[in-house]
Symmetry: C2
Subunit: 259 residues, 2 copies
């Protein structure tokens, strides 16, 4: 597997076999390097030995290696530093970066509002349940400041829109606070989908005529209270009801806008 520096046996380098499968050298090298990183158990911040990416060892040119490294860098797996003591380092990916990538995936055929809410209806309640009683003081005050942003009656269409987004931010806050990172990530992703959907943007920028706004606010105040009190079951059902209501609201507005 490991190519040797002996120039005689030129070695059917690692890409040779796989190349027939139409995978290109940089991709194969990227996989190879990633593999070495994880099997060696390198963790964030550690330096990647330069031999691992040297043209001699890999039997490819520097340019090709650079393409491979570009992939890994784009993935957020590595970063590079110039200068002495510099080199390639294992890095960590930000959730936001990953979500942007996912947004890209659903750009061509965005999921419908019912599709998104099918997930939100079951996940957000779990999120709330997991948070009940385990919120720190900081997290609580952060959530409270989110609510303050849309406590007042909006005076303009623009403010209305901003308030709507702040409501989503409330949920983003919740997701960030979750002890279950995976759950938080998926919830965040769903929120990002909602934010990006042009259909939703249109809905959000519309004024909210009914008493919808108040009931929405009401939910969140009651939810926060339940979370503080550690009432797991109450938090769960509260959130579920909120999601059900939010979905029907969105759908209703969507059909109104379509005319």
């Amino acid at each position: 597997m490991t190519p040797d520096n002996n120039p005689e046996e030129r070695s059917a380098p690692l890409y040779k076999t796989a190349y027939s499968k139409r995978r290109k050298r940089p991709d194969i090298i990227a996989d190879h390097v990633r593999d070495r990183i994880v099997t060696a158990g390198l963790t964030v911040g550690e330096r990647i030995p330069s031999e691992w990416v040297s043209p001699e060892e890999l039997h490819v040119s520097r340019g090709t290696i650079r393409e491979a490294l570009k992939i890994l860098e784009f993935q957020g797996l590595i970063t590079s530093k110039t200068g002495p003591g510099g080199g390639l380092f294992v890095s960590t990916i930000e959730q936001d970066d990953a979500i942007r990538l996912l947004d890209n995936l659903f750009l061509s055929n965005p999921p419908s509002i019912p599709d998104i809410y099918a997930l939100r209806k079951v996940l957000e309640p779990e999120l709330a349940a997991g948070l009940a009683g385990s919120l720190s003081k900081d997290q609580i005050s952060e959530l409270q400041s989110c609510i303050h942003l849309y406590e007042d009656e909006p005076t303009s269409a623009d403010e209305e829109y901003r308030q709507r987004l702040a409501e989503l931010d409330f949920h983003t806050c919740l997701a960030r606070s979750s002890p279950n990172q995976l759950l938080g990530f998926v919830c965040n992703f769903l929120l990002s989908l909602l934010r990006d959907k042009t259909e939703c943007r249109a809905i959000y920028s519309e004024p909210t005529p009914w008493a919808m706004r108040d009931t929405g606010l009401n939910y969140q105040v009651r939810l926060l209270r339940a979370l503080k009190a550690g009432e797991v079951q109450i938090a769960r059902t509260l959130m579920r009801d909120h999601m059900i209501e939010a979905e029907s609201f969105m759908i209703k507005r969507a059909v109104m806008l379509r005319r």
Copy 2:
């Protein structure tokens, strides 16, 4: 700063301003090209004009451009074809590519089994519910062939392991068939996490001593029956019970292995 063979008209190429923000040329070029693609409204399969990526227009070398294109290719936004009539084409991202990306995100701190199952317990039942009564003949036979793979008693540890993976494949099949693409995607992602977790690999390769295997098989047969019959509620509860049982099984085995 900019190497430019024509010192007269330095031409403030597009990367110039952003370069101060430490973003590297390939990244900027990738963004630039992506932007041109979406603003021009190019759709899948269409050819990208070669001027858009020519060294002359972009004022960078081919190598740098290739790094940029590598990013876009990895993102799944473009593919390249060699030969006459070849070139760069707009492509679509495969779910699998996106999932690989996500796997990467959780590589450094993988979610625990309870974390994963917190999601599976609520999502898989929804998946099953959405599938009830709407499966095509092809999809049903595909699911059935999945079950056949682990109908027989495993004769070796290796076969045991393969059967275990086939069980996951059953769920992957379900996820692929979902009319809700988003739901299918997330379920698939969770399955991929399970497959990759070293802890889970160890569990799967262990023999299954109790009657666990039978009950697992039993679930899936009953589930398939409910799906064919269009029994939404039954499918949902069946899957939920299955998930609960699977989780407790995994957790039990995990603590056994830790000793």
